[in-house]
Symmetry: D2
Subunit: 304 residues, 4 copies
């Protein structure tokens, strides 16, 4: 199973489940994979920023990836985040996970990059590191990476690297960027790649309307993401927004930097999907007041 | 009219209206002041970050402040942002606007500050610059200022500066910070000051429940902010969240950095409050697609 | 006297002299101007980052500029820094100082700029703000501005704005950038503008050898900068480096961020040029140990 | 051999030698170790920022560390940089290198830390990760880490963690910080730890005079660092500064971010110590003009 430019739907960003003592929780991992596939995920993404990838030792990253790949067992494509401080680590992880059955890899640029040419060069070097045959995703997430890529820069990366098959879009604001990129590919100015959107889904219905192919993000009720994508594709705009807006209070709550992941894990625990909301250090702990907020929102969502 | 620690309700952050050629629009200013007071504002705040203050020349800032103060004419307190690259400019603007009838000033720390002591010292120096009798507001907005203030640091500033009367809270995540600060003042560990919340109101009902006294933020329908604050104070939790959640799609759209202000101005124009959505350069222009998004959300809000 | 692309020699960056109470010291200003002209300055630059410009109120900036212009009285060109948080303030200051006799203005890009196109647009907007007939200098100082300009971006700004007459170069590392830009102008790929170098002169002899036209920087013994520029132009490489290397210990000590300016002012005071080493708050104070270090270096320089 | 608070002299920061194809060069590693010990190094530090540690894969880091430890063979203590994006990786590397004979580890705080308490907590968590019996060095390098530690914060870390044995000081400006810390330990306000200074040695003689115990830094002629430390300790101030100032032009040239390391490797190659000046990507290449600059400086140093 290889990632291609026609990827669409919802690629759920998987959190990495830990037991309350901080150790990898591989049993929860299996259950989580089933839950996400049952919710309608068309792909999974692991070891991204929201997967606490930097908090795993090199061997742990690989164990976790193997576990997910085994659980998925070829039912959907799995994308693995291989962003690293250096190309040697990126190359090593990429080789291992592709050998183990990953469909492609995702690369976020390091925060030191500034100029257009630096960004373009970085992706050329990254492709050299992972090899020209590994399909890869550009992660465009300036709020976290502090790297701003214009549509022009993204198009240069797409044109210069045939193995680039997808843009993970999470610029903010970013809707006009989707419009610009889709117009460019429609008019033949650039090769068409898949665009899946992140940012916790905060703008998902509008992103679909601008021409995105789906979402690649996490949310504690991924079936909502799937529902919205399908409703928009079916032309049911009002129903899509109605569904989305019902969840928006919790989506908004999950977008809080760092705390949001703990919130998401808490809801996944409450839904019986993972056994602990633990984040590895350094990471926040939920206060009783925050837990009360979450319960309030869950009740309002599940009641409707 | 002097700002005190008992300030509460909704202090609306005023955008600065410009004509389409970029010049100050003082006629719209008067109309906007009336609209915000009619919506139930208990105070106004001008020349903040969302007021495009850094884009005004020194004389323009003062003309605009005088116009707002004249239009308000003592009906509610007016807070003026006096954050500046240096204390001489801060002191000069502060003196002028206080003489002209402002109720207090608001100060955001410069992005160069890092350590706890640097932040505390900065506010001591700022108080020396504006004078010890001018009531002032601490603006805690790390997403924009890049300055992180712990509750401990905020309490030091409050304790060391008797003229500190308010915290404008827009840390993100920030709910537990409100809980911590309110617990500390309830237990007598720190003088109680007013806490008004910003961040475009994105967490307003929860902020009220944590002990905030109200909001200081902008939104194109400020009557919603007023409604939510009043409903929470009246103990009508469900009604407060229902009202808030109806507006949340647009609130969320307005939180987009830089673009959000153009969105807010567009809605204010559509509601007949100002004549142009123009932002001064450098600033975004709304695309037709973005305008269509806004119209869609306005229709859904106004229908309900 | 109008700044042109043939500017060369040493444009001394003037600190702004304050009395020990922090007020502007206009008497020292006159004496400093004479001292710098006697040292061989071919131009002066005021209200730059090292001139504590952001710490001056708008009226003070203009008073100080008028004082310098009057003291210089047309003997050399004076460049005025007009970098500002917004174009309205930039436009206002630029108009005033050009009317008062400045030869040109200097503009540093704001730290929010990231992409190549943002930087190019910013300078286009700035030229619109100051007017197309005001000669201007691009300040390229990434250590402070956090804006990285490639040679390509600088060349675009030069080509698109005929009123651009100079690059103030203080990238770090930056020697190869001079080589690249000079090669490009020699080969007719871009209009030739003056390149004067900053960074406290830390690389001055090498910068001259790469094709710079001189220095625009501050140092407590500006006659050394003049000497090095003249010796290199006269082909006396060894003598130039010998002279420079004798001063390098103090040049190095002056490059310490923020503290360096206090060091420079202390030496200027010791040399009888200004009456106080005071920096406006927030700014460092020299410890007795630091003063002892400076005295040690002065003695070694002056003995040789 | 265990690192203690009485460490002194010159701990040379080792670059990681690569062949021109970018592979680890273990033969050069052995030769480099001998050269540095012959130059008078009292310790070595590997896998620091200047060792291109983030560009090595996990297994490479460990191979390189083993090679150095074997070459040193207990003659001097070896400190290993274990800074990592997460504690799992830090813990894994720390355990491996301590088992292999390292004398201690060095930890730089991640750039996300802002408040005093965040920094103190981070080191507490790091000590939990590496274990309480592993001697560790605080790396205080705000220019690169963007984390500013006051003397008070450093003292809290020292007091709360008995296994902290050394401060690697490279704040800038930083001389008064040494004075403050030494005064505090002399007056019994804080446990005395070793202070070794970095920053390419740019302020070495003054740092020794302020109370530092030596240097932990890299320079292409480490015998100069050793000479300066010994002369200062012998009370020969003038000779120490004379020796240092002769090298200062090249020291200054080596402090250029990123390029400086390529310069250092070039000189080490020219001196027959390593076989290639190659940096791993992304990294600069030396231009012919830069090589000519270096040769000029080498000639002036070696002649004198």
């Amino acid at each position: 199973m290889v990632l291609t430019t026609s990827a669409a739907g919802v690629y759920v960003i998987c959190p990495t489940p830990f037991r309350s003592d901080g150790s990898l929780d591989l049993a929860s991992t299996d259950r989580m994979v089933e839950a996400f596939l049952n919710a309608g995920a068309t792909g999974l993404t692991i070891l991204g920023i929201m997967g606490e990838a930097p908090k795993l030792a090199a061997e742990e990253s690989f164990s976790y990836a193997k576990q997910v790949l085994a659980a998925v067992s070829g039912r959907v494509p799995v994308i693995v985040g291989v962003s690293a401080a250096g190309f040697a680590a990126m190359s090593a992880l990429s080789r291992k996970v592709m050998d183990a059955g990953a469909a492609g890899v995702m690369i976020a640029p390091p925060s030191t990059l500034r100029t257009d040419d630096q960004i373009v060069s970085y992706f050329a070097d990254a492709v050299e590191a992972i090899g020209p045959n590994v399909p890869f995703v550009i992660q465009d997430y300036p709020l976290v990476t502090n790297v701003v890529m214009t549509p022009k820069v993204i198009m240069r990366i797409i044109e210069e690297n045939p193995s680039c098959v997808m843009l993970k879009h999470e610029d903010w604001p970013g809707l006009d960027k989707i419009t610009t990129l889709r117009r460019a590919s429609d008019q033949g100015q650039v090769r068409r790649v898949s665009i899946l959107c992140g940012n916790g889904g905060l703008f998902l219905p509008f992103e679909m309307e601008r021409g995105a192919d789906g979402a690649m993000t996490g949310y504690a009720y991924p079936e909502m993401l799937v529902g919205v994508v399908n409703l928009i594709k079916a032309g049911k705009r009002t129903e899509a927004h109605d569904l989305f807006d019902r969840h928006l209070p919790l989506v908004r709550y999950e977008t809080q930097p760092s705390l949001g992941l703990a919130v998401r894990k808490y809801v996944l625990k409450r839904r019986g999907i993972i056994v602990s909301e633990t984040l590895r250090k350094p990471g926040p702990k939920l206060s009783p007041e925050t837990i009360a907020d979450i319960e309030w929102m869950m009740e309002r969502i599940e009641r409707s």
